[in-house]
């Protein structure tokens, strides 16, 4: 176990040490203490390591993560796990806006609530939120899965493409071109797997969710749809 006191050693030293792990796997467990809401903690890691941050993080923690498992034992500021490529990020507390923005792969688990624009422009990431999500979540979401055990705010999935959204509670309103879709057996199986990987099995059953996706009416410009924008 590598212990790192962020308050004493500073962010640059941490990220520099984590980036140096690329291609190595012999230092697999890291603990970061005194994060004190610093920005860009463990951003750009590219190694199969396990990093535990003891406390809350600022903006862009685990940004562009590849391979690493990053656990935040607190809450996360805006843009946590933005553009994640692979690996896993698990937040014990809440996440601020843009959680998992543009994520291309990997798994983001938020055990509390997520603010607005959760999964904005997501491109393949899986996001599991144990609580609720704010407005404009999954805006222009391209692919991947967003699972919400609680409720969703206004304009869910506005202008989304092929991402799949699963919400267990209420949806305040759907965004442009987002509709409820049939939950078929393959979706139930997918959801069961996501709940398990998202440390939420036993908290909810797949049958309790509704599925939302793109109506695909806005995929090609049509003047008759102008009022939808």
């Amino acid at each position: 176990m590598q212990n790192f006191d962020l308050g004493k050693e500073g962010l640059r030293a941490l990220n520099s040490a984590l980036h140096a792990l690329k291609g190595q796997t012999n230092m697999t467990a890291w603990e970061v203490v005194n994060p004190k809401g610093a920005h860009a903690i463990a951003a750009g890691v590219d190694a199969p390591v396990d990093i535990t941050v003891r406390g809350s993080t600022g903006y862009y923690c685990a940004g562009m993560n590849k391979q690493a498992t990053i656990r935040i034992k607190g809450s996360a500021g805006p843009g946590v796990a933005e553009n994640m490529i692979s690996g896993t990020v698990i937040i014990d507390g809440n996440a601020s806006q843009y959680a998992g923005a543009t994520g291309r792969g990997g798994l983001l688990v938020i055990k509390g609530n997520a603010s607005s624009r959760c999964g904005v422009s997501m491109k393949g990431i899986d996001i599991v939120v144990h609580g609720s999500i704010g407005h404009m979540s999954a805006f222009m979401a391209q692919s991947g899965n967003l699972v919400v055990l609680g409720d969703a705010g206004d304009a869910l999935g506005d202008s989304l493409y092929e991402a799949r959204l699963f919400v267990r509670g209420s949806v305040k309103s759907l965004g442009a071109d987002c509709i409820e879709k049939e939950m078929r057996p393959e979706h139930l199986a997918l959801l069961a797997d996501l709940l398990k990987r998202g440390e939420a099995d036993g908290m909810a059953r797949p049958e309790e969710f509704k599925r939302y996706g793109s109506a695909r009416n806005l995929y090609n410009f049509n003047i008759d749809n102008a009022s939808a924008y």
Binding site: Y60, G63, M64, P78, G79, Y219, I223
Partner: protein, 442 residues
């Protein structure tokens, strides 16, 4: 009855034949006009400035004998690895998707041979461009198509795109007919659909967030890469100041003459400011902050010749970027394809339907049959020649002004031909000491 002369037909200056044609087109289709390129209207531009040249009060340098340097360093503020270019004319961001793979390769070949950089675009980094560009600037755009940390790290600089001159405040658009399998795969979207690129970044809003975003990008790349911030010419004083405050190494400022792959004609023609009006405001912001020449300024939008390069630099820019001019150098809009332009209802030098993907020159297309027509080696050579000519032209002017480096050109070397240009550029009207709005009288 006598044959009295009749009043000849008189066209309206307001309802011109072109205006009327657009009204008829809109009435028939119900859709606004979409096209590529930059503004086509007449604007105050570099043509409205002249160099004074040396005389008794200043002495010139000997052409062909006395050195006039052209190199430029970009990213000296924070980056561990700033960029050094031989010439101050860079290639602006143009996406793979908007352009064919061979066209991107040609840009890389030409720029590298001339000692300058190319820039990716809203579609990610292609092997053609990375492989052929000695110095490659990787754009960080709202869409984040193709964005990944490996490409960030193999770029030579990162350009955070906030806006562009053709459409400040607007997002991108790549219509379905240009979405080939490869383009769709790079952008993680279904083939054949219209691809909208957002107008705002998905994970930051405003200058305070931008500062944190730039910090993240520096952390991911271990503070090695210069970070540019690109803005469209709208409020250049404040945008430049805020970019500097947010930690930019370089500010890229694109006037409304700057091109786009596709957007609404009404946007291109009616939003933004000409580059001539933008440069002095950006330079003033840098000077007010004590950052002129410390944060470098790259300007673009209608740069066509070495004279334009020299004028932009005399106004205070560190370098310029070209997009449309580079495409023309490659062979875009060449009269050799006139027969095919006619079939498309247009003519050489006016073709701007780049979004349709039918470019006869094989440059702004994803159609393999069309881009086979384009030879990237020949295109690269043409671009290199053009860049060399621009540089020689700028040097010629600088020597005539007694400058041994293009960066030594200054506003005092210029005069304006029109009152508008004098006011915008902050350069006295020719034959006077008058800068409207500054010193009151003659």
């Amino acid at each position: 009855m006598t044959d009295l002369p009749r009043t000849p037909p008189r066209f309206s200056a307001t309802f011109t034949p072109a205006v009327n044609a657009e009204i008829r087109r809109a009435a028939a289709s119900g859709i606004y006009d979409i096209r590529g390129g930059g503004t086509k209207r007449h604007l105050p531009h570099f043509d409205d400035l002249l160099f004074l040249g040396a005389s008794i009060s200043r002495y010139p340098l000997e052409g062909y004998r006395e050195k006039c340097a052209t190199d430029v360093w970009l990213g000296t503020r924070f980056a561990k690895k700033p960029i050094h270019l031989d010439i101050p004319v860079t290639i602006a961001g143009m996406s793979f998707g908007a352009l064919s793979g061979p066209a991107k390769e040609a840009l890389g070949r030409g720029a590298s041979a001339a000692g300058t950089s190319t820039t990716t675009g809203d579609g990610g980094m292609t092997e053609e461009e990375r492989g052929h560009s000695k110095t490659l600037v990787y754009q960080y755009l709202p869409s984040r198509y193709g964005m990944n940390p490996d490409d960030l790290r193999r770029a030579d600089a990162i350009e955070v795109v906030v806006g562009q001159g053709a459409k400040p405040g607007g997002g991108g658009m790549l219509l379905g007919q240009k979405i080939s399998d490869r383009v769709a795969n790079m952008r993680n979207l279904p083939k054949g659909i219209d691809q909208r690129s957002a107008c705002r970044h998905p994970d930051w809003t405003g200058p305070d967030d931008l500062e944190i975003k730039i910090h993240e990008l520096r952390e991911i790349t271990d503070w090695e890469k210069p970070i540019y911030v690109k803005v469209g010419g709208a409020r250049p004083y404040y945008d430049t100041a805020l970019a500097v405050k947010a930690g930019a190494d370089v500010v890229v400022l694109d006037g409304m003459q700057g091109g786009t792959a596709a957007t609404q004609d009404v946007f291109i023609e009616h939003v933004g400011m000409p580059i001539l009006a933008c440069i002095p405001q950006a330079v003033k912001a840098l000077q007010d902050l004590g950052m002129h020449r410390k944060v470098q300024l790259i300007v673009s939008g209608g740069i066509r010749s070495g004279a334009d390069v020299a004028k932009a630099m005399a106004l205070g820019a560190d370098a310029v970027a070209i997009g449309t001019a580079a495409l023309i150098a490659l062979g875009d809009n060449d009269p050799m394809w006139e027969e095919e332009y006619q079939k498309l209802g247009t003519t050489a030098d006016a073709y701007d339907d780049w979004h349709e993907g039918k470019d006869p020159a094989g440059i702004t297309t994803q159609d393999p049959e069309l881009f086979k027509r384009f030879d990237p080696v020949l295109g690269g050579r043409r671009l290199k020649n053009y860049l060399k000519v621009m540089t020689l032209e700028a040097q010629t002017i600088a020597r005539a002004c007694g400058k041994n480096h293009l960066h030594n050109l200054e506003p005092e070397d210029l005069c304006s031909l029109t009152i508008e240009a004098a006011a915008m550029a902050g350069v006295p009207l020719a034959g006077t000491s008058w800068i409207p709005g500054r010193n009151g009288g003659f």
